[in-house]
Point group: C2
Chain length 321, copies 2
Amino acid sequence: MNTKIAIGIDVGGTNTVFGFVDKEGNCIYESSIPTHSEQNADQLFERLFLNINNDFKKFSNDYKLAGIGIGAPNANYYKGTVELPPNLNWGMVNVIDLVKKYSSLPAAITNDANAAAIGEMIFGAAKGMKDFIVITLGTGLGSGIVVNGELVYGADGFAGEIGHTIVDMNGRECGCGRRGCLETYASASGIRRTVFELIGTTNIPSGLREISFGQLSAKDIADAATRGDQLALKAFDYTAKVLGLKLADAVAHLSPEAIILFGGLANAGDLIFLPTKQYMEEFMLNIFKNKVKLIPSALPGAHAAVLGASALIWNELNKLN
Amino acid sequence: MNTKIAIGIDVGGTNTVFGFVDKEGNCIYESSIPTHSEQNADQLFERLFLNINNDFKKFSNDYKLAGIGIGAPNANYYKGTVELPPNLNWGMVNVIDLVKKYSSLPAAITNDANAAAIGEMIFGAAKGMKDFIVITLGTGLGSGIVVNGELVYGADGFAGEIGHTIVDMNGRECGCGRRGCLETYASASGIRRTVFELIGTTNIPSGLREISFGQLSAKDIADAATRGDQLALKAFDYTAKVLGLKLADAVAHLSPEAIILFGGLANAGDLIFLPTKQYMEEFMLNIFKNKVKLIPSALPGAHAAVLGASALIWNELNKLN
């Protein structure tokens, strides 16, 4: 047999995950190495390809490598670069040129949210859809937009920054230097900020009052909400209200068939989906009401990042055929 | 000679303009008839084609008709329909089916802002651009979005409603039934509302205090601002701030090469362009700063609507070749 498989690579601040994925989205193998964010990109990719080449030996009788898809922060699909990623000591680097030192396979790179969007289109919840948006609710809020079956990169390759649309020009300080960005409200760190604002502004009793900001996780808030903690429930409601408002704005731009929520905070399930859907409908222009699905990712959680990254290159290879 | 020309039709609440436009965007002839908004669509198109057929006789030796492009409120490109237009007594009507009663030429329909966007792409300021946004600043605020060289219609054909993104969920009442939509601030009627709010909330002296709301036009405000009227200047500044904020949001979604301002309020020139550009840059995420052009329409004002409508069908015919 010579089944073709793609290498999917997801570069994170702590670990870099890689795996082998066939055309149907089966993840044959997955592993990871520490990213060592203090190292430069070349040092990571040298270590990475040592591991990839070694691990592939077990599969080389049955499989043939077809290409490499990479998800990385601040990646530019057009240029093949990663530009000043906030959590990596990379500066400006052309990753696609770098990869050529280690492999002659076709390679493509984009950011993790765009990779997730292509992953959903090829293997997940957006199969058969031509117009949809993926929102990744992690530490920040990322987004990948698909229009007419193509990922929207925009004029410069950086489109899809819905996390940095502005909810309130006088609102919360954002890591980007501005104020009131959506991701300061609707993300794992955003809901933690909301809990602490509510602790300050209300007298609602809550077990969360005994936890420091440094110790509090979005999972803690979800667990408290599930137990009926009123402050945690109010934090989810507020998060959903802000997210619903800005998703209604995104719908007004793009009229997608569906919006797919992906990542840590999306795992809170009904706690986030039900109120977000309600507020999104409330804030949506009449002509769009009850048309746009709000659905969870259908990429299996354990392999989602690698599936997304591999989908990027499968999508490129499909275009060639 | 048998030069091909397209019929461009722009249906407005008061008048319906039509004209003959060649492939290079030369408007050979233009005329108009009253729309009679109390009539149904069939009555309008019957009158319209009587005029078109009659007027075309003068040109039939030199020109051959190639197709019909129509711009109309609440038009759906996919379905060929116009759906419950606010200013016309049409209800739900399939205009493309209707046109077949009067002509066997290929025909297409979209709303006026989308027609303007295609007009700019084929004949105007967006020639050669693949990613841009057209904002029409008339009584309301319309928008047409182009991604990868294609107009964005979305899943249902109604994408591009940036005028109904929400600036402030507790803000001004909008004709759509919600509150705080962009077009209640950034449009000819929006700036009139701003003047009256400023008359109420400030003591700034102004000649505009002598004019009733019913009598005040956006042109009056521009003229006052040009004369140095401080209240009028403040109204332009506020309009620009709100518009700049939401254009920065649109850039975060789409990363366009340019945003083109079109229509009545855009004719105020530097009064609106300079502060809008300044606020847009201020509210924009770092990676987009100083990349996105803010430019005026390059469709000649007198024929812009007919050029946009004809561009729609020229674009369709170009796809076939």
